[in-house]
C-alpha cells in the first residue's frame, strides 16, 4: 500500500506521518507538494498537521485552495481514503470535504497536552482495529480545534455514524470538563457522509511507537491498511 503525504508550506507533521507509514507500518509513502496536480497513484492521502500559510486569514483556508486539493476532491468523490490530522482537518473543512468549522479554542489558549478520546464506532476505514468505546490517550496541539456546527447538522452526523472520536474522561465518560477546546458534542474526529474522508484534531502519528511513550494511535493507520487490503 502507498500513502501520499501532502506537504503545504509550513506543514510540520509531514515527516512524522511519512515515518509511521514507512517505518512503523512497513508500507510505501511519498511526499506530494501542494502545487502538484496529481496524487502519484497513492492509496491513501494524508493531510498532515502544521500551520499551513501561517494560519493567516483562517487556519487551513489558503491551503484548501492549493492546486493539489482539486485532485484530493476528485479522489475523495471516487471513494478514495483521505485523512486530515489537526491542520489537515482544518484544510478538509475549508475545502468543503468535511462539515462544520474549527474555530478558536474556547479558552483562547494554544492547547498542547495528552487528552482522552473515545472511539465511537469501529465501522469503516479508520477505526476498524479498535472496539467501540475504547479510550485512547492521545496528544492534541492546536489553537483552532473548537469543532463548531449547528445542532441540526450535529444530530445528522450522529445519526449517520459520522462521529469517530469524542473527548472524554479516562474512563470514557463524555462531559464538559474533559472537552479541552469547547467542541460541539465534544467531537474530536469525524468522517464525511460516505465514511472515506476523516478529519481529527488529535495526533495519532505522535503516539504510534514505543519510543514516543505510546502506541495508542497506531491502530488508526493499521485500520486504514486493514481496510485497504480487504477492499482493494
Amino acid at each position: 500500500m502507498k500513502f501520499g503525504v501532502i506537504v503545504f508550506p509550513a506543514s510540520n507533521c509531514d515527516h512524522d506521518c511519512f515515518h509511521v507509514a514507512t517505518e512503523q507500518l512497513g508500507h510505501e509513502a511519498e511526499f506530494i507538494w501542494h502545487r502538484d496536480e496529481d496524487l502519484k497513484g497513492c492509496d491513501c492521502v494524508i493531510l498532515p498537521g502544521g500551520f499551513s500559510y501561517g494560519d493567516y486569514l483562517r487556519s487551513g483556508a489558503m491551503a484548501a485552495c492549493s492546486p493539489i486539493m482539486n485532485a484530493v476532491r476528485e479522489y475523495a468523490a471516487k471513494g478514495g481514503l483521505v485523512i486530515g490530522i489537526c491542520n489537515g482537518f482544518q484544510i478538509l473543512q475549508e475545502a468543503g470535504l468535511l462539515p462544520g468549522a474549527l474555530m478558536r479554542n474556547k479558552s483562547l489558549k494554544f492547547i498542547c497536552k495528552d487528552v482522552c478520546v473515545r472511539v465511537e464506532h469501529k465501522d469503516g476505514p479508520f477505526t476498524n482495529k479498535y472496539a467501540a468505546g475504547d479510550v485512547l490517550k492521545i496528544p492534541v496541539a492546536h489553537m483552532d480545534g473548537n469543532f463548531s456546527l449547528d445542532k441540526k447538522t450535529l444530530t445528522r452526523l450522529e445519526k449517520n455514524n459520522q462521529i469517530l472520536f469524542r473527548y472524554c474522561t479516562n474512563d470514557g465518560h463524555v462531559d464538559e470538563e474533559s472537552n479541552p477546546n469547547g467542541s460541539s458534542g465534544s467531537v474530536a474526529g469525524i468522517t464525511n457522509e460516505n465514511g472515506n474522508v476523516c478529519g481529527m484534531m488529535p495526533h495519532p502519528e505522535r503516539c504510534s511507537e514505543e519510543l514516543l511513550g505510546s502506541v495508542e494511535g497506531i491502530k488508526i493507520f493499521e485500520s486504514i491498511v486493514n481496510w485497504y487490503e480487504a477492499n482493494k
Binding site: L57, R58, A61, M62, C65, Q93, E94, P99, G100, A101, M103, R104, N105, K106, S107, L108, N146, S148, L149, D150, G182
Partner: protein
C-alpha cells in the same frame, strides 16, 4: 477601484474573542456594553473600471476564500 470587505461571524456563532473583549471592557469600568463581536476588514485593490464585474469577482473571492460561509457572512463596499 478599492473594495472594502467586511467579514463577520454569523448570528448565533459563538465568539470567544468577542466575549473576552467584552469582559475586559467591563473590568475597565465601561458600562452599558451588551455584546462584542469580532470580525475582519479586508481591502482589495482592483484594476479596471467595470464595477459590476469587479463586484461579481469579489463575491466569488468571498465565497471561495475570504470568508468561510459555514460560520461567516460578508459584505462588500466598493469605492473609487
Amino acid at each position: 477601484m478599492l473594495a472594502k470587505v467586511y467579514v463577520t461571524l454569523k448570528k448565533g456563532v459563538h465568539d470567544p474573542q468577542g466575549e473576552a473583549v467584552n469582559r475586559t471592557l467591563g473590568t475597565m469600568g465601561y458600562k452599558g456594553v451588551s455584546d462584542v463581536r469580532i470580525g475582519k476588514y479586508i481591502e482589495v485593490k482592483m484594476s479596471g473600471d467595470n464595477q459590476a464585474e469587479a463586484e461579481a469577482k469579489l463575491d466569488e473571492m468571498c465565497e471561495k476564500l475570504l470568508a468561510n460561509t459555514v460560520i461567516e457572512s460578508y459584505r462588500i463596499e466598493m469605492s473609487e
